[in-house]
């Protein structure tokens, strides 16, 4: 191996060069700490922070907003979680769409659009992703951050070699920063475990009846276009499936594996006794076969490599040249949410949750997301 000829001058030059690189790239990384504005509808009744339920999260990057829409009639309590994995944009955008449009009618709705707020402040090394994606609206593009699946290592580091999560599941070390492996959380644990604990506290204190965790998965992953349900929600999931299929959505049911611990669809049900549901839609931008990552790949969902993989039978979801756009993925989440609420009203009328103003999934597909999002220019 060649050796670099070192001198004081070369050392000084490299130090200066490194300083310049750190400054320039640091400014770019710093922009990830600016949350995209959310413009709640007039139906918003309160905004809390997760730290209101679990104070140790206060002044940490694990703290995040909880938007509350209380209905005028008695009913159940619904929790919607977006941004558990900030590299799965349909979760964030679906939550924002709800926050900016709905009004509570019956029961109460709690929406956390950026469940792992720290994960939104960085991007995954070696994934080459853009830091933001632009959703077109009639008033111009609205920007959203594309973060990482994991908590920012600046907030939680180092990872252990092996992670034994609060549910005693043994996982690879970096899963210690994956919110959806840390349930039911630890009050005195790592930051991500504290976030999970904070969400469990929210569930307990607000007496949540049904929790829906919005995700996306790579098209080569078997659990896709799916409703993953805890066994206490099997009837509800089956009812929702029927309604979704009647509306023309190709969707499948996946029972939460009983030996896979730390995930929301398992631990919310086991530890808080609520109906625990996780929804998955297909997202090419965080798959392993993706072509060039870009805002367009996220929003339009077109990828020639995935189209080819689909033709070769490698995928668990049909993926044509036309792609699977974000609007369709969000529409799927909204349709599933609507179907689940319908099923809940049928099975347990006293826990029914009704909202007004929810963007109709068919309209979201037809008109696009921008038609239901607040215009970007008013973000100030």
């Amino acid at each position: 191996m060649n050796r670099i000829k070192a001198s004081e001058l070369s050392a000084a030059l490299f130090l200066i060069l490194t300083g310049i690189l750190c400054f320039i790239s640091g400014r770019s990384f710093q922009t990830m700490h600016r949350p995209e504005p959310v413009f709640p509808s007039a139906g918003l009744t309160a905004t809390h922070r997760l730290s209101d339920y679990f104070p140790p999260l206060k002044n940490t990057h694990g703290d995040t907003e909880v938007y509350i829409f209380r209905g005028t009639e008695e009913g159940g309590n619904l929790l919607v979680l977006g941004g558990t994995h900030p590299n799965e944009p349909a979760g964030l955008v679906s939550s924002v769409l709800l926050i900016e449009n709905i009004r509570g009618k019956r029961g109460n709705v709690f929406i956390v659009p950026r469940a792992n707020a720290s994960g939104f402040t960085h991007s995954d090394p070696q994934e080459g992703n853009p830091q933001r994606f632009a959703v077109p609206t009639p008033s111009g593009p609205r920007l959203f951050r594309l973060g990482s699946r994991l908590t920012n290592p600046v907030d939680q580091w180092p990872d252990p070699a092996i992670y034994i999560n609060p549910a005693r599941q043994k996982l690879s070390g970096n899963e210690v920063r994956n919110l959806n492996r840390c349930y039911p959380g630890r009050a005195d644990g790592f930051l991500t475990e504290k976030m999970a604990f904070g969400i469990m506290e929210l569930i307990r204190r607000e007496r949540i009846d049904i929790g829906i965790d919005l995700h996306e998965s790579a098209p080569e992953y078997p659990v896709i276009n799916a409703i993953v349900f805890h066994e206490n929600s099997s009837e509800l999931a089956a009812l929702a499936l029927l309604e979704l299929q009647a509306e023309g959505f190709d969707i499948r049911l996946e029972a939460s594996p009983v030996n896979l611990h730390g995930l929301s669809h398992r631990e919310w049900g086991d530890h808080a006794g609520i109906k625990a549901i996780l929804l998955e839609t297909p997202n090419a931008s965080h798959g392993r076969l993706k072509g060039k990552p870009s805002s367009s790949l996220i929003v339009d969902g077109k990828d020639k490599f995935y189209a080819k993989a689909s033709r070769l039978g490698w995928l668990f979801v049909p993926y044509g040249e036309e792609g699977i756009p974000l609007a369709l993925r969000v529409a799927r989440h909204l349709a599933a949410l609507k179907a689940l609420l319908g099923g809940l009203a049928e099975l347990e009328p006293e826990k029914a949750v009704e909202v007004e103003g929810m963007p109709p999934p068919a309209e979201v597909q037809k008109k696009g997301l921008g038609a239901f999002l607040h215009p970007p220019q008013k973000s100030g």
Binding site: S28, E127, G128, P160, S172, G291
Partner: protein, 422 residues
């Protein structure tokens, strides 16, 4: 810009810089990544280059702190003493010595899942013993590499399986038996293949004459303390189910190094650290360069093109694709290969027993540690035995690596039969 053209350009610039212009590998990778980003019309992409380089930040810290640990042991006279102890214990039996050496080499990797940690912590203990008993330097290097690689995939900790399992929702449970079925025969055969012919059986007098200068009996118990600290800190979080926190492998090595300062001859910790930095810097720069290279490959779509090209092979070539692509991409990153190729292959073989499939794939992917340009394990093993050209060590890894590859593919093919048998 077609993705294949970007990939060809990236590789061409790297080869030109590294081979023709003799630029060190690390900077050559970084510069070719920068050139690739410019060629693809992405501009200098500083954010991407820095982000990619940080992909191996933890590995870089492990290598650096493990090297500091070894330098402290060297300066304190502990390494020589351990060598003397091993020589006294095993000089009579080649087979016992080779098997014991293999176990010692594998042990840190079994605990940490890191071949680098294994090679850097056990390699310097074993290398002098083997060379004093007649095993040529290059074969000693090969033994150390293969020990590190087998340690990395041996239970209880196999990070490659954890990465692949995470991609298909397979919990890290039940892999011990399949891994033992795969690895125990290899751990017996590989050291014998590498060392049996050359290792000499010597008499007591000759053994005494080649003993390195060891520290006196007064130091005996103290000498074990850095190793005890190392093993206890690595084991404690797992044994106590997380009640004792895991401080991370770099901190474990650093703690053991600091303890080592007080356990033998006086050590200048600052000087030991400086030596460690100087020694490890070329490899650390390769890791940073590899990170940038992958980031640019991904951001330009070249990674997707490579993955799809391999996955597009006809089904009868699937096992050939596994045998080639998993180790080949490991030349850039073994863990990256497990994630990028291992998970799709797991899915392609989903009808077979996932425990056997993941065990086999991890054994095949781990061979990526031998593949240039990174060839991390081979580089470190060469460094441990004082060989400047790691390719010369690699030559002696060829047959053991083929055996491991054959065992991995064999287990994949026999998975349905083994599933019924075990």
């Amino acid at each position: 810009m077609p993705e294949w053209l970007v990939f060809v350009f990236l590789v061409a610039v790297f080869v030109l810089l590294a081979m023709a212009a003799k630029v060190p590998i690390g900077p050559a990778l970084a510069l070719s990544a920068l050139a690739g980003a410019l060629f693809a019309g992405e501009g200098p992409s500083l954010r991407h280059l820095v982000e990619g380089a940080f992909g191996y930040f933890d590995t870089i810290l492990i290598i650096l702190t493990a090297t500091i640990f070894i330098k402290v042991l060297e300066d304190a006279g502990i390494l020589d003493t351990v060598t003397a102890l091993l020589l006294r214990t095993f000089y009579r039996s080649r087979v016992l010595l080779l098997l014991a050496a293999m176990l010692i080499l594998m042990f840190p990797g079994m605990l940490t899942g890191s071949s680098t940690a294994a090679i850097l912590s056990s390699g310097p203990l074993i290398a002098p013993v083997m060379m004093k008993l007649g095993l040529p330097r290059l074969k000693t290097g090969a033994l150390i590499v293969m020990g590190g690689i087998l340690g990395m995939i041996a239970p209880p900790v196999n990070i490659l399986i954890m990465i692949m399992g995470g991609g298909v929702d397979m919990p890290y449970v039940g892999v011990t038996l399949p891994l033992l079925v795969l690895i125990v025969p290899l751990a017996i055969i590989v050291p014998l293949v590498i060392g049996y012919r050359d290792l000499r059986v010597i008499g007591r007098e000759e053994m005494m004459s080649i003993l390195p200068p060891a520290l006196g009996p007064a130091y005996r118990l103290r000498l074990a303390v850095p190793f005890i600290v190392l093993v206890v800190l690595m084991l404690a979080p797992g044994v106590t189910a997380g009640r004792i926190p895991d401080i991370g492998i770099p901190a474990v090595f650093l703690c053991a190094a600091l303890v080592g300062v007080f356990c033998g001859r006086p050590v200048n910790f600052l000087k030991a650290t400086q030596k460690a930095v100087a020694e490890s810097l070329p490899v650390l720069s390769i890791l940073a360069g590899v990170g940038m290279f992958i980031q640019v490959m991904t951001m330009t779509g070249a990674r997707g093109w490579i993955v799809m090209s391999i996955l597009s092979l006809p089904s009868f070539l699937l096992y050939f694709g596994i045998a080639v692509s998993l180790p080949a991409f490991g030349g850039v990153s073994t863990f990256g290969s497990a994630s990028i190729f291992g998970i799709p292959f797991m899915l392609a073989l989903i009808s077979k027993n996932a425990l056997f499939t993941s065990s086999s794939l991890s054994a095949i992917a781990s061979l990526g540690d031998l593949v240039p340009p990174a060839a991390i394990s081979a580089r470190f093993a060469a460094q441990v035995v004082g060989e400047p050209n790691f390719f010369r060590v690699l030559r002696h890894c060829f047959i053991p690596a083929l055996l491991q590859l054959a065992a991995g593919i064999g287990m994949l093919l026999l998975a349905p039969f083994l599933d019924k048998l075990i």
